[in-house]
């Protein structure tokens, strides 16, 4: 930890660090944290799941997790390629703070928090507050992200992740959406959480859309859901080689619609299976 206050730099999967390395860039001490067992692995604690900072995407995919994490697992499968998933870590994805970080929308939809290890102990920050801008995070010198904490979610929660790109693999998204939808015993949506990535400097939740979904019957959402461009107007996409701003807004609305339908559908399936178990 002491190294991090000076010229030290934390590295883990290196899937962003090494591509960013330019000839001529002077490198200080590199602190590789991938062999610290405490920082790795997934376990349940009290009221949350703890995903160690250096847990790779592959480890996340392989770890048995509740259905609510399906969106996160789908995102993990779409991170770059198997090679990247084998090296890249969940905390690295967040700390790199790319607007197109695949892990961020599903973690936002899960209300994830970031555990920061400081010389004085540790603090927990909401993910929403941790990423403050393009390539900017609320991490002070000498601090280290130690884990991602995901609060326990209601059993009847379905989640989804949709990534839009111009090709199948190794693609940086034009837009992406993750939804997590919880329902009560009657199938009424109690908590809808939808997050959009690649359409603003930092991936963001869509509170208006969530409000419109809360209280609706999940089944009716599966049958019919409209998401208008106005409902995602809070996004501020840029135009780049991957797509125009106008296209991104349109695509975000359509992806929100599809992601919400999928999550609602999975939530009702969950509900049905819990009911079946209760009946037995």
């Amino acid at each position: 930890m002491s190294q991090l206050d000076g010229d030290g730099q934390v590295v883990a999967g290196c899937t962003d660090f090494l591509p960013g390395l330019r000839r001529g860039s002077r490198i200080g001490t590199l602190v590789d944290i991938t062999r610290i067992p405490e920082l790795r692995g997934i376990r349940i604690e009290m009221d949350h799941w703890r995903i160690g900072a250096t847990t790779t995407w592959t480890e996340l995919i392989k770890h048995p997790l509740p259905k609510a994490f399906e969106g996160l697992k789908l995102a993990a499968r779409e991170v770059g390629s198997v090679q990247i998933q084998n090296s890249g870590t969940i905390a690295g994805n967040i700390c790199n703070a790319s607007p197109a970080a695949d892990g961020v929308p599903p973690l936002l939809a899960l209300d994830a928090k970031v555990e920061v290890c400081t010389p004085a102990g540790s603090r927990v920050v909401d993910l929403e507050d941790f990423i403050t801008g393009v390539r900017r995070i609320a991490l002070k010198p000498g601090e280290l992200v130690s884990a991602i904490l995901v609060p326990s979610v209601a059993e009847s929660t379905g989640s989804s992740f949709l990534k839009l790109g111009s090709r199948k693999y190794l693609v940086i998204s034009i837009a992406m959406v993750s939804a997590a939808i919880s329902v009560d015993r009657s199938g009424t949506i109690t908590d809808a959480r939808i997050a959009v990535g690649s359409c603003s400097p930092v991936a963001t939740r869509m509170p208006e859309l969530e409000k419109a979904l809360n209280g609706r019957q999940a089944r009716s959402v599966v049958d019919r859901l409209e998401v208008t461009v106005d409902q995602v107007a809070s996004l501020a996409p840029i135009k780049d080689v991957r797509g125009s701003a106008e296209y991104r807004i349109h695509a975000a609305a359509e992806l929100c619609r599809r992601a919400a339908i999928q999550a609602a559908g999975r939530a009702t399936c969950e509900l049905a299976s819990t009911d079946a178990e209760t009946a037995e």
Partner: protein, 918 residues
């Protein structure tokens, strides 16, 4: 002292003093000389460097060497050596023709070997998921998928022979094993680790003047630097180019740079110093000037002029006309006018330009990845002011070329650095340098007017194509001469006028890229043809059949072929597939619409033709061969194999014509000192032109042998224990090779033959015989369009190609698959934006998940000029793909995209416009 220890392919290795930030790829390649690790991007974008760490595939370029401390690292060599799945994959990749250029192959095999083994038989999706991180630019991936599945016991591969098989028989490529094992040596695989390293200082601006500062102090302050090279150090002419009248590109800019990435200096230093070399510290000051960024700007009045010698920023133009198109269009039942635009397309071979040079016996020896060794040598002689004996160019294995490695890239810097330092030197472009500074496909701005009679016969075509040729000429003149000849498509057009113009802009030079402008022209024409057919209510395939060329029908150049025109056969071969896929699409769309599914299936078609060899210019190939005393035949084959398979095909053609049973074949070269000039690997000419030269050479060798035996030319000959015998018909004559005198080349018989296609120059109306033969093609594309998001997924291709005579079915299919993959990229995703898309994650090429099954239908309409009737194929394969996809998109959802690539943004915008319109 730091000591890195790990297990490499099962053996412990120890490496001392590895810097903290060193990549595993570098440690393996440079400290442990494991050059089977190929590096394509240093960014995790291509996967070529994939190794297994503790069994899991990772990119060695994205792994710090110190992170493998005490771990198991496996490369392709270890995977194959240990037997099991690694060895099965290697066998399967060879028999399944899954390797073309071979630069991605080790990464592919290692990724496949690292697939999670959960006991279950893998599906196609499993294979794609496992290999999705490795880009291949040659194969179109389908043979890779089949080979991986076969290695896991799923599916059969067609039987393929090892050793030289007769023409028509499927055989493994002669260089296949070393490509799969990674032992084939590419541009950056030759240099010893201690070689001096060359780095280029490049212009950050599209147009700028510059002043180079105090180089003496710079060199003094940086003791790692051996020398700095600039324009002043060029002993000869500081210019190169491919056409003698257009030699205009400087090795080093002299006072003004004309594109982002143009070289102004080269720094040569020891590898330790150059590892940290920062071009930003180089003493040069820049004065940015207003640049001409596109053709509209370039042709505007008062536009800045790129070169004094090219008035109005126009490099050159071309023209073909016949009949009276204006009158025919007037008389036509219907006519339409359309305009069409395409983008810069990057070759994106996985091997960046690289090479090694040294001085040997007073001669400069330049090893580099190239498609044109003799042309390289001639340019280097001019640049270095050396006599012919002063330079030898030895092509390394080429990790994909597609046209761009026809031009000089690293060669002059290597040659000059080796000459000045008298030390071995190496240079490997970074991916960014490769993309910034080497040639691109010309963006085109095309307008055309085309008409048809009520019976569906074409009536008049006017075509005008502007081609953005970038800052220097490169192959711009080849594009402007080729396009007007081809812009009619493979159709009978009696009244025709086609004009082309190459326009200079401050962009990287546009050069040769598979098709020389014809794919762009074809995209415009074939989509317009579809519209005409639709307006007339005639089926798109039927319409093309009514208009296609035939034997005895003149082309727009007035060339009449009495034989060999195979377009009708190609179109007819698609008839059943066309009906089937169109019917299925209709039924599927009805069902999808009823359940609110946003996907729409569409089926499109396009046809193409392509002249093999240079356009109306001499285009000879020379091949030499000899028979040694020990009974081996040696083929001096200078046609560079860039993955397409000329090493294999030319050997097959040679052995077949030599026809001496049991005679072993050795391949010599390519090397400008030992192989005569077999021309460039371009223009789909190697099978046809060099293949003919090889057969002529074999026949003449055979005649010499037969004469010595007093036998007829057609006598059956065979080699038996150092003696050539006349076999059959009870003849017992034989020739003891050991008894014959050996000439200065070391042969008992040898000869050299040249073939030059019979063409004539075109007159000012473009009339004449531009090519001795054309190849023909027609393809069907089946796509799904997501009308909610504007995305397109290809579902299937059916490709009918007239190849005249199949020499090696595996290689023919490989060309078709690879061409379709590049055509799909051009249609849907590829757009190079100078200064912006300088890497393989902003510039997208198709991945293994983007290429659907491809059904190939091979037509053999022999051509009398071709060896055994064979025709060229290398470029034909991608020409129909983009328009077939565009026509399929229209069939799926009713929109016409006339600006490539058809990105989701453009498709959705068009869908919205149509929705508003209706």
């Amino acid at each position: 002292m730091n000591l890195l220890r790990f297990n490499l392919n099962g053996r412990e290795v120890k490496v001392a003093d590895v810097p903290a930030a060193e990549r595993l790829s570098e440690t393996l390649r440079e400290r442990l000389l494991r050059r089977e690790i190929k590096v394509g991007c240093n960014a995790g974008d291509c996967g070529a460097c994939t190794v297994l760490i503790n069994g899991d595939p990772v990119c060695a370029c994205l792994t710090l060497s110190h992170q493998v401390q005490q771990r198991d690292v496996a490369t392709i060599a270890g995977q194959v050596a240990q037997g099991g799945i690694g060895a099965r994959l290697a066998d399967s990749f060879l028999a399944g023709a899954a390797a073309q250029c071979g630069i991605c192959t080790p990464g592919m095999v290692v990724s496949a070997a690292g697939m999670p083994a959960n006991g279950a038989t893998p599906s196609e999706t499993d294979v794609k998921d496992a290999l999705g991180g490795v880009l291949c630019r040659c194969t179109g991936y389908r043979k890779i998928i089949d080979s991986v599945l076969h290695a896991h016991g799923v599916g059969d591969l067609p039987a393929s022979k090892s050793g030289i098989a007769p023409p028509g028989i499927r055989m493994n490529r002669v260089d296949g094993s070393r490509k799969i094992l990674g032992t084939d040596e590419f541009g950056d695989d030759i240099a010893p680790p201690e070689a001096l390293v060359v780095k280029i200082v490049r212009s950050p601006y599209a147009r700028a003047t510059f002043t180079i500062g105090d180089l003496d102090s710079y060199v003094k302050e940086n003791p790692g630097i051996s020398c700095v090279l600039t324009a002043r150090d060029i002993p000869g002419i500081n210019r190169f180019g491919v056409f003698p009248q257009f030699v205009d590109q400087p090795v080093f800019a002299e006072s003004e740079t004309r594109f982002v990435g143009e070289a102004v200096a080269a720094v040569v230093g020891n590898p330790e110093f150059m590892w940290w070399f920062d071009p930003n510290g180089f003493p040069v000051s820049w004065q940015e000037l207003p640049a001409v960024s596109n053709m509209d700007d370039a042709l505007a009045e008062n536009a800045a002029q790129l070169h004094d010698r090219y008035a109005g920023n126009t490099l050159c133009s071309g023209r073909v006309c016949t009949g009276d198109p204006a009158e025919a269009l007037e008389a036509a039942e219907i006519s339409i006018s359309r305009s069409f635009r395409t983008s810069f397309v990057e070759h994106a071979y996985i091997e960046p330009e690289a090479g090694f040079a040294c001085v040997k016996d007073g001669k400069l020896v330049v090893h580099a990845c190239t498609q044109a060794p003799h042309m390289d040598r001639d340019s280097l002689l001019d640049i270095l002011a050396l006599p012919e004996s002063g330079v030898v160019v030895v092509p390394t294995a080429v990790g994909g070329g597609f046209g761009s490695k026809l031009d000089l890239s690293v060669q002059p810097y290597l040659a000059l650095a080796a000459k000045v330092t008298d030390r071995p030197v190496r240079l490997c472009y970074s991916r960014t340098e490769s993309m910034q500074s080497t040639t691109k496909r010309h963006p085109a701005s095309i307008s055309l007017r085309i008409g048809a009679s009520a019976e569906g016969k074409l009536s008049g075509l006017e075509f005008r194509g502007l081609f953005d040729t970038g800052a220097y000429s490169s192959w711009g003149p080849a594009v402007t001469s080729r396009v007007p000849v081809h812009a009619s498509g493979p159709y009978e057009v009696r009244d025709y006028q086609a004009m082309s113009q190459a326009v200079l802009t401050n962009s990287a030079p546009s050069g040769a890229f598979r098709g020389f402008g014809v794919p762009q022209a074809s995209a415009a024409l074939e989509t317009a043809i579809d519209e005409l057919a639709q307006e007339l209510g005639i089926d798109a395939l039927e319409f093309r059949l009514r208009n296609c060329l035939d034997n005895g029908v003149p082309t727009v150049c007035g060339q009449v072929f009495s034989q060999g025109v195979g377009i009708r056969a190609c179109l007819q071969a698609l008839e059943s597939g066309w009906t089937k896929t169109r019917t299925e699409a209709f039924e599927l769309n009805v069902e999808r619409e009823s359940r609110g599914d946003p996907l729409r299936r569409g089926v499109g078609l396009a046809a193409a033709w392509y002249g093999c060899g240079n356009t109306a210019l001499p285009n000879p190939s020379t091949i030499r061969a000899g028979i040694r005393r020990d009974g081996a035949a040696v083929l001096h084959q200078g046609a560079v194999d860039i993955g397409q398979g000329s090493n294999t095909v030319i050997a097959q053609l040679f052995v077949d014509a030599l026809a001496i049973e049991n005679m072993e074949l050795e391949l010599a070269g390519a090397d400008t000192d030992i192989t005569p000039d077999a021309g460039k690997t371009s223009a789909s000419r190697q099978t046809y032109v060099s293949g003919n030269a090889a057969r002529m050479c074999a026949s003449s060798l055979r005649r010499q042998v037969a004469r010595s035996l007093n036998a007829g030319e057609d006598a059956a000959l065979s080699l038996d224990g150092g003696r050539i015998e006349v076999t059959g018909s009870g003849d017992r004559r034989s020739l003891d090779l050991a008894s014959l005198p050996v000439n200065e080349s070391g042969y008992v018989f040898d000869c050299q033959e040249t073939y030059n296609p019979p063409t004539t120059p075109l007159n000012e109306s473009g009339q004449g015989r531009p090519y001795a033969q054309f190849g023909y093609a027609a393809q069907i594309a089946v796509v799904d369009v997501d009308v909610g998001l504007g995305t397109v997924a290809a579902v299937q291709f059916i490709a009918a190609h007239d190849v005249g005579k199949i020499i090696n079915p595996s290689l023919v299919e490989g060309q078709i698959h690879g061409g379709i993959a590049q055509g799909l990229g051009m249609a849907l995703m590829e757009e190079f934006v100078p200064g912006v898309t300088n890497n393989l994650h902003d510039y997208l090429v198709p991945t293994i998940g983007d290429i659907p099954p491809i059904e190939t239908i091979l037509i053999e309409e022999p051509d009398i000029h071709g060896p055994l009737g064979a025709k060229g194929l290398g470029e034909h394969v991608l020409i129909p793909t983009a328009p077939a996809i565009l026509n399929a998109i229209h069939h799926a959802c009713g929109i016409r995209i006339r600006s490539l690539p058809a990105t989701p943004s453009r498709i959705l915008a068009a869908l919205k416009e149509t929705a508003i319109g209706s």
